[in-house]
């Protein structure tokens, strides 16, 4: 059953918010790395270079500060550090969880590879994964910080399972570890956690496994903490209305990429968690004009009322040129603020949001 999103949403409304209506703006997480950071990542492996691990840490700090501020400059209500410290969404966590080992890259397609890890023994929690990263970002940010975490289903199914009788059992053990991490993040002050489960998009028949994993993740987590779930592009009718039973506050979807054709899927039965709607495409390198984004936001109002609508890009923006990623984010926020004003003035009828 859904958590209680109305119990935690208002804390993200900025003091100087200009409108009565409040559509929470956020990002999915990843953001293009500055070129110099990629260079720094390579330099630290170069034996002829004096650039060492502590220099790289400084570079990561600088990049996190930069992107967090870039998000604030774009006007977002909640920000992320752009995942500047992370290499790949499974690798980063597998590196921090006892029980995983790396054997080398495997092919995804063509010459695109992924360092797919193997689970060789029971997974265990060692050092915190993200607490330092959160504390750093939180200290440099003026806005609340959201923490994206790769979900246990993806961490389990995008690895080789050598140790568990079934990958489902591995997923549940991983979910307990994610729960431990979320507890530590909450202790450090985090109030907005997003679980990323891209693997569910390709195997929607496993929605019950993800549901059970989420139960474990949120166990003991207070309702003032907002828990989101992000699932990338796929056939959402395969997991809806089942997601209404998930213990989450918010469900984040990628629909812009498919011209919102799947919106009707979510209208019957009634959508229960808050909807976080992707309104700019993460796979096209053109900045959408504000007017177009406003039309996209109205699509979300077909599913939920304004007080249950969160607005974000479709997915992480890391594959885009940085100026494009910024342009999309900035236009997205502008569009949201204009839509809010139009809701306040009655110009947008929230019962019939597509009517002019």
């Amino acid at each position: 059953m859904v958590r209680n999103p109305s119990a935690n949403r208002e804390q993200f409304r900025p003091n100087d918010h200009p409108n009565d209506a409040f559509l929470l703006t956020t990002v999915v997480g990843s953001y293009p790395k500055p070129k110099w950071l990629n260079r720094a990542d390579e330099l630290v492996d170069d034996p002829d270079s004096k650039f060492d691990a502590s220099d790289l840490e400084e570079a990561h700090d600088d990049a996190c500060r930069l992107i967090t501020h870039e998000h604030e400059r774009a006007g977002l209500d909640t920000v992320v550090d752009g995942e500047m410290r992370r290499n790949e969404m499974v690798e980063f966590f597998a590196d921090r969880i006892d029980g995983y080992e790396f054997n080398g890259p495997v092919k995804v397609w063509g010459h695109n590879y992924f360092d797919k890890p193997s689970v060789v023994e029971e997974v265990e929690y060692d050092e915190p994964w993200l607490v330092d990263e959160f504390e750093f970002t939180s200290n440099v940010a003026e806005r609340p910080v959201k923490v994206p975490i790769t979900g246990p289903y993806t961490l389990g199914f995008w690895a080789f399972n050598e140790a568990y009788p079934s990958t489902e059992e591995l997923v549940y053990d991983l979910a307990d570890l994610v729960n431990e991490e979320v507890e530590k993040l909450v202790e450090a002050g985090a109030r907005y956690i997003q679980i990323d489960e891209p693997a569910l998009a390709t195997t929607p028949e496993d929605h019950a496994i993800v549901g059970e994993a989420l139960e474990r993740i949120v166990s003991g987590i207070d309702e003032e903490v907002r828990i989101g779930l992000h699932v990338c592009y796929g056939d959402y009718s395969r997991i809806y209305p089942e997601i209404n039973d998930y213990p989450i506050d918010e469900f984040d979807v990628e629909l812009c990429n498919g011209d919102f054709e799947q919106i009707p899927t979510f209208t019957d039965p009634e959508f229960e968690p808050d909807l976080a709607l992707g309104v700019v495409d993460a796979h096209t390198a053109e900045v959408e004009p504000v007017e177009e984004i406003k039309e996209n936001i109205r699509q979300g109002l077909r599913v939920v009322p304004p007080e249950k609508l969160t607005i974000s890009p479709d997915c992480g923006l890391k594959l885009l040129p940085r100026d494009i990623a910024y342009g999309k984010t900035e236009n997205m926020v502008t569009a949201v603020r204009e839509v809010e004003a139009e809701i306040d003035s009655g110009e947008i009828d929230v019962e019939n949001p597509l009517d002019d």
Partner: protein, 333 residues
């Protein structure tokens, strides 16, 4: 007495050094993938990859050596994606895996290509007679399933044309002891009831083009029983290849007990999609156990194989799996 043969159908992972050099030479985008007329520098890289594959197999002591198919960017769709009568479309999912290939859109008559024959000639030179060669091709049913027809206009005609094309390729192959025809689609997307014979006819067309032992290798679980029976009787295969790792093994045992088997069998015994390396003794036990389930007294050959291609694995584990297969065959001697 049954002969045990350790072999693989190929499609190996590129060595890590080649993953880097080739992606530098070719690029990462869809348009950068192999078209069949690659530059001399790329040809040379692949020649080194091929030599390494041959060495890996000879070092392991496999009974058949394959070319390794390092060039097959699009996995078993490769023979079409490098063909002149084919345009490549979008990136599509490769079976139920987190892997993708370019959709081959067949836009003209599928004439002779010779691409795979050239690879096999090169492999033959490298092997230098130290072990018999095994050739690998997609089976016509799976290749038709993976491709898009924009020319023949009719499913049956398309499947038959692909079978004729593959048969033409086989005729140009250098001497080979075994031909693996990879047919995962027979399990994942089997022919509709009543259309089994069209699929088996297509396979027989390719099988008839060689004097070598033909192994029709299936993957991702057990075959439907009716289709299994058709394949045993009609596909012209010397051996059916059965996946004993994925899916329900009991279904496969049932098929064999109920409908008999080809004169030889290939058993998918080591997991091509998991880094856990099997013990040779365990593999050997599985061979004996499975052979004991077969009603017919003594048959010709048991091929000890992985259940899928090996490109899913990191390089070190692929090599370990080759060693396991060869060692398991030795345990059984």
């Amino acid at each position: 007495m049954t002969e045990r043969v350790a072999a693989t159908p190929g499609l190996y992972p590129l060595p890590d050094w080649a993953k880097e050099t080739l992606s530098d030479l070719k690029g990462h985008q869809k348009g950068d993938l192999l078209s069949g007329d690659e530059s001399e520098a790329i040809v040379e890289e692949y020649a080194e990859v091929r030599a390494e594959y041959v060495d890996d197999q000879l070092d392991a002591g496999l009974d058949r050596v394959v070319e390794g198919q390092g060039r097959w960017d699009d996995m078993i769709a490769h023979p079409l994606t490098v063909h002149d009568s084919v345009e490549t479309g979008g990136i599509v999912r490769y079976y139920d895996n987190n892997n993708f290939y370019r959709d081959p859109r067949v836009v003209d008559d599928l004439g002779f290509s010779g691409d795979v024959a050239r690879e096999l000639e090169a492999a033959t030179d490298l092997i230098g007679g130290e072990a018999p060669l095994a050739a690998t091709l997609p089976g016509p049913y799976s290749l038709a399933e993976l491709a898009t027809d924009e020319h023949y206009g009719d499913e049956a005609a398309f499947q038959a044309a692909i079978a004729e094309f593959l048969a033409g390729e086989v005729e140009a192959f250098p001497a080979h002891e075994t031909l693996f025809l990879l047919e995962p689609s027979l399990v994942t997307n089997p022919p509709a009831e009543g259309e089994e014979s069209a699929a088996t006819d297509a396979i027989a067309t390719v099988a008839d083009a060689t004097d070598a032992d033909v192994v029709v290798q299936t993957s991702y679980g057990a075959l439907d029983e009716k289709l299994y029976a058709h394949l045993v009787d009609e596909a012209g295969a010397d051996a059916l290849g059965l996946d004993l790792v994925a899916g329900d093994r009991d279904d496969t045992v049932y098929n064999v007990q109920e409908f008999g088997s080809t004169d030889s069998l290939a058993l998918g015994l080591v997991d091509g999609q998991n880094t856990l390396v099997e013990e040779p003794e365990t593999v050997a036990e599985r061979v004996e156990w499975f052979e004991s389930q077969i009603p017919a007294e003594g048959f010709d050959r048991t091929y000890l194989t992985p259940n899928t291609e090996l490109f899913y694995l990191p390089s070190n584990k692929y090599r370990a799996k080759l060693n396991t297969l060869a060692a398991a065959a030795e345990v059984l001697e």
